[in-house]
């Protein structure tokens, strides 16, 4: 029982990561109809916003410590973060440890800007081009973004821990009436789960309670006619793109304590996020979210030893297997709309 | 017994009764017009005939065989061709290629590899295609991209694609809508000529009464999903119910 609850928890937070990435992708891919292979790169850039904030907060001056030597035998140069010298080592460190959540503040404007530049500078010329061209150009862009990040941050993963206060894990089982020490769960993963619910809710509310969503859907179906009705669809597409980029970026920022960011993390998530979106059904936000959670949970269960004992290696293919089964039984994924990217 | 026998067909869309107990019999070799107000269910009926929709109840027999449950391509291979209300053509191909495809479909059936023959070397098929383009006055446009045609031309092309198949039953859903008057007249002549030279049956939906009354031998009036009357053109013209529901003050 406890093992099952643990796997559900794992599934939920894996799922929330998938759902969040798929949500951003579905805004661009399912709604604007652009096959955006650079979406993973947006996720990655978000993660590096967190790294950047961390680096900024760790900006240091060097002090020479004559008593110790470095690897070449020279006097050791100790880097002291300004924050530490201003607020004292204790408080300084504590502040620095909050860099990941603080990075949200940086990530929103940065990602909106990146989204804006990307859409205005590039994607807008590709709405009417074949999907194949979109793939080529966005894939090229993804490579370029990835290489730029690599130039600045190198190829090695960079540790970006959660704030001290949110680090460790809690004895979650006690709340559920299990004995102590049975179900431990990291605090940060709860935070991530709640955060993604918040974002998903926000995006839904925005698209549901305003006409924005309808206009964008209409614009995708027929840009020309929407223009004839006096609507500047370009602006809305740009905004939509910005939101999608921000969602992707925030997903990236908050994921960094779980997965140390590296420059190719976007590519690693790319295929998976497309699978999630398509299984959810093209053009459906609830579909993307549902499929994210579904695949997350299914994957968690497939990784259980009991399951793997019966079907070795099942955890490696489960996502694809489930995707195939769903797509064969439901022609348009879970909640897909007719006619979106079916040609 | 007509070549096409529609019996007791019903079709609902959600709560909407698009077709209610439709019976229709089209005699071989005749031109049968189906007219009726917008939304009467005319196109829906044709959709049932070509296998695009499956009726909820009823039977549709063509040439003594049921068409229900067959795939659209099988129905076409039985000898039914259809011109759609909004032109359905191969927009990425050239005009000539658009008519070549139905030629091949007629000769080779629903599927054949033919991966090593050359289209250019198919003498008779090319001739046929050229001929039909000449018939619909589009020979000079044979190399254009079908997608860049004007709307009237697209309709003419689609007509050509259906005619070249020499179907037993030709279904025409507003074939001359959007066609210039001159071309409408040409089309009427063309259809008449085809009918004289070949054993073909036609079912035609039109709102242009000039076309209907020039061609039709029988007319069925459909209203709100049910046939209102079926009669000869002369009788329909004067039918008070038809005038009220459909023709209005139109000069026919």
């Amino acid at each position: 029982m406890d093992a099952i609850i643990l796997q559900i928890l794992n599934g939920l937070d894996k799922g929330s990561a998938y759902a969040l990435i798929a949500l951003g992708l579905t805004l661009i891919f399912g709604t604007l109809g652009v096959v955006n292979f650079a979406h993973g790169a947006l996720f990655m850039i978000g993660a590096f916003c967190a790294v950047t904030v961390q680096r900024l907060m760790q900006l240091s001056h060097t002090e020479i410590d004559e008593s110790r030597t470095d690897f070449l035998g020279n006097p050791l140069q100790v880097e002291v973060p300004y924050l530490e010298s201003w607020f004292g080592p204790e408080l300084g460190q504590a502040l620095i440890s909050w860099s990941v959540p603080l990075a949200i503040l940086l990530a929103i404007p940065v990602m909106m800007l990146v989204g804006w530049i990307m859409e205005r500078g590039l994607i807008q010329h590709f709405y009417k081009r074949p999907h194949a061209d979109q793939i080529l150009v966005t894939f090229g862009l993804a490579i370029v973004l990835q290489e730029i990040i690599r130039q600045f941050y190198g190829a090695n993963p960079i540790p970006t821990p959660a704030p001290d206060a949110l680090r460790g894990s809690v004895d979650f089982g006690v709340w559920l009436g299990f004995g102590p020490g049975v179900i431990f769960y990291p605090v940060w993963r709860f935070v991530y789960f709640l955060f993604s619910l918040l974002i998903i809710g926000g995006v839904f509310a925005f698209l549901q309670f305003t006409t924005f969503g309808m206009v964008v859907r209409a614009g995708m179906a027929d840009r020309e006619t929407v223009g004839l009705l006096g609507i500047d669809i370009d602006k809305r597409f740009t905004l939509m793109f910005g939101i999608a980029a921000a969602v992707a970026g925030l997903a990236g920022v908050m994921y960094t304590p779980i997965l140390s960011p590296n420059y190719h993390m976007g590519m690693d998530f790319l295929v998976l996020s497309f699978v999630v979106v398509v299984v959810g059904g093209m053009g459906s936000l609830p579909g993307a979210v549902l499929s994210g959670f579904l695949l997350g949970i299914v994957q968690s269960f497939a990784s259980m030893n009991e399951v793997k004992a019966i079907l070795p290696g099942i955890d490696q293919i489960i996502i694809y297997l489930v995707a195939i089964i769903i797509l064969l039984t439901r022609p348009r994924g879970l909640l897909g709309r007719r006619g979106v990217m079916e040609e | 017994m007509g070549i096409l026998e529609v019996k007791g067909v019903n079709k609902n869309f959600g709560g909407l009764k698009a077709l209610q107990d439709v019976n229709l019999s089209v005699q071989e070799g005749t031109v049968h017009a189906i007219i009726g107000p917008n939304g009467a269910g005319k196109s829906t009926l044709l959709n049932v005939l070509v296998g695009k929709l499956r009726p909820d109840t009823g039977s549709v027999m063509f040439d003594g065989k049921s068409v229900l449950g067959r795939k659209p391509h099988e129905i076409n291979q039985m000898g039914i061709s259809r011109v759609f209300q909004t032109p359905e053509i191969f927009t990425d191909l050239s005009v000539l290629e658009n008519v070549l495809i139905p030629c091949f479909a007629r000769r080779d059936g629903a599927f054949r590899m033919h991966a090593f023959e050359s289209v250019a070397h198919e003498g008779t098929i090319n001739e046929e295609a050229e001929q039909i383009l000449a018939d619909v006055n589009m020979a000079d446009k044979r190399n254009l991209h079908a997608g860049s045609l004007s709307r009237g031309d697209k309709r003419r092309l689609e007509m050509a694609m259906c005619l070249v198949q020499q179907p037993k039953l030709l279904l025409l859903d507003e074939p001359t809508a959007g066609m210039a008057r001159a071309d409408t007249n040409n089309t009427i002549d063309l259809l008449k000529e085809i009918k004289e030279t070949r054993p073909i049956t036609m079912a035609i939906i039109e709102h242009d009464m000039h076309v209907v009354f020039s061609l039709a031998e029988r007319i069925t009036v459909l209203a709100q999903g049910t046939p209102l009357v079926e009669d000869t053109p002369e009788n329909i013209k004067g039918h008070p119910k038809v005038r009220e529901a459909y023709l209005g003050e139109a000069q026919v």
Partner: protein
């Protein structure tokens, strides 16, 4: 000639000439000059050009003609490779059975995947194929290790049975005794040209594949495939069953991929799992689009372009750059090397990414369109421009 039109014959002859003369054309720089870095005329790379050319030609039959975008074609490439290596392990190093079996295995595999995936269209089809290929990859990488030798890759060991191996047979891949790796080097002054058996074997198969693809493009079958792409709906109301057409195209392109995979193994008898990974499937998609999907020669160009970047640009390190700019003043040299090093060597991906973007932005029809534009510009120079109102846009060749 050969049952194809005049224009196609010309294209075929040009490709044949380029392929046969490749060892010379691709080695334009003297062997010891600074520019020799850009020479691509060594057997391994030339083999890759034509092999990936075959892969892309086949892919184009599916994607370029029917518009079905498969994201899983690497699975067939991998299956072909594994089949070929198994033939080497079990029978002998003769390439003929290996290549034949690789085609058959890949074709059978594609019947299975195609039959299921083609029940859906558009993006749903793409993801189905992707899912199958990724499953194949993951299984090949780990669980199926007895069959694939996992991460290390399937190779031939001296302990393998090789039941058909004759006494004097070479212990490398060969065609009835003619070693694939054998080569003749022609030295002309400072130039050196390698003519390798393996390359010509692949090149001839590529030309045959290319010829077949021309025939398919110009055949009624090819016309139907283009119709599938244009308006599937209309096709079925015209009495044609699009499913078997698409499936046949899928199988043909799967067989091409299998041939390519078999040849890869025949040139270098090792089959690694990553040949099946999505990146490999993506690569052939990129090759085809980059060159010009739906055109005859585009995919070959695209394949050559990407393989060239991968093999040549990645090898230009700072040392090489320094030697190029050595003549310049020191500060300038360092600066130039610094800038250039971002684009070559470890930075070659950046160049690749930029190239993708530039090509697709400025040449919407791919590299082929680039060629056409140059051709048109030249013709315009000669003052043969056609007059205004001619909407005649030639359907893609």
């Amino acid at each position: 000639m050969l049952g194809i039109g005049k224009r196609d014959t010309t294209i075929l002859l040009v490709v044949a000439f380029m392929a046969l003369a490749a060892p010379i054309i691709l080695n334009p720089f003297p062997a010891n000059s600074a520019m020799a870095q850009f020479n691509a005329g060594y057997p391994d790379l030339m083999q890759r050009f034509v092999i990936f050319g075959i892969f892309a030609i086949g892919f184009n039959i599916l994607f370029g003609l029917t518009g079905y975008l498969s994201f899983g074609h690497a699975a067939f490439l991998g299956a072909g490779s594994y089949a070929a290596v198994w033939m080497f392990k079990l029978l002998s190093f003769n390439v003929i059975p290996a290549v034949l079996l690789s085609i058959v295995v890949a074709a059978l595999f594609s019947v299975l995947i195609g039959f299921i995936s083609l029940r859906r269209s558009g993006i749903y089809f793409s993801i189905l194929t992707l899912a199958f290929a990724q499953m194949s990859y993951n299984l090949a990488y780990s669980v199926l290790t007895p069959l694939t030798n996992g991460e290390t890759g399937l190779q031939v060991y001296t302990s393998d049975p090789q039941y058909l191996r004759g006494e004097g047979d070479p212990i490398v891949t060969h065609l009835f005794g003619l070693e694939m790796r054998a080569k003749e080097t022609l030295e002309l002054g400072p130039w050196a040209f390698d003519f390798s058996v393996g390359y010509y074997f692949c090149a001839i198969l590529m030309l045959i594949s290319f010829y077949i693809s021309i025939r398919i493009f110009r055949s009624p079958f090819g016309l139907m495939l283009r119709a599938v792409k244009s308006n599937n709906h209309r096709l079925s109301y015209t009495g044609l069953n699009s499913r078997p057409y698409a499936l046949t195209a899928f199988i043909i392109s799967g067989a091409y991929a299998g041939l390519a995979g078999g040849l890869l193994a025949a040139m270098d008898p090792l089959a690694g799992a990553e040949r099946m990974q999505w990146t490999a499937s993506g690569e052939v998609v990129l090759m085809t689009i980059l060159g010009g999907a739906g055109t005859l020669i585009g995919p070959v160009l695209g394949a050559g372009f990407i393989k060239y970047c991968e093999n040549i640009f990645s090898k230009i390190n700072e040392n090489v750059l320094h030697s190029w700019f050595a003549a310049l003043p020191d500060g300038l040299e360092t600066g130039l090397v610094w800038v250039a090093s971002k684009f070559v060597g470890e930075g070659w991906h950046l160049t690749l990414g930029l190239m993708f973007m530039l090509v697709v932005i400025f040449l919407p029809g791919g590299l082929v369109e680039g060629g056409q534009r140059i051709g048109r510009a030249l013709r315009r120079r000669r003052g043969q421009d056609e007059p205004g109102r001619s909407a005649a846009k030639e359907p893609a060749e």
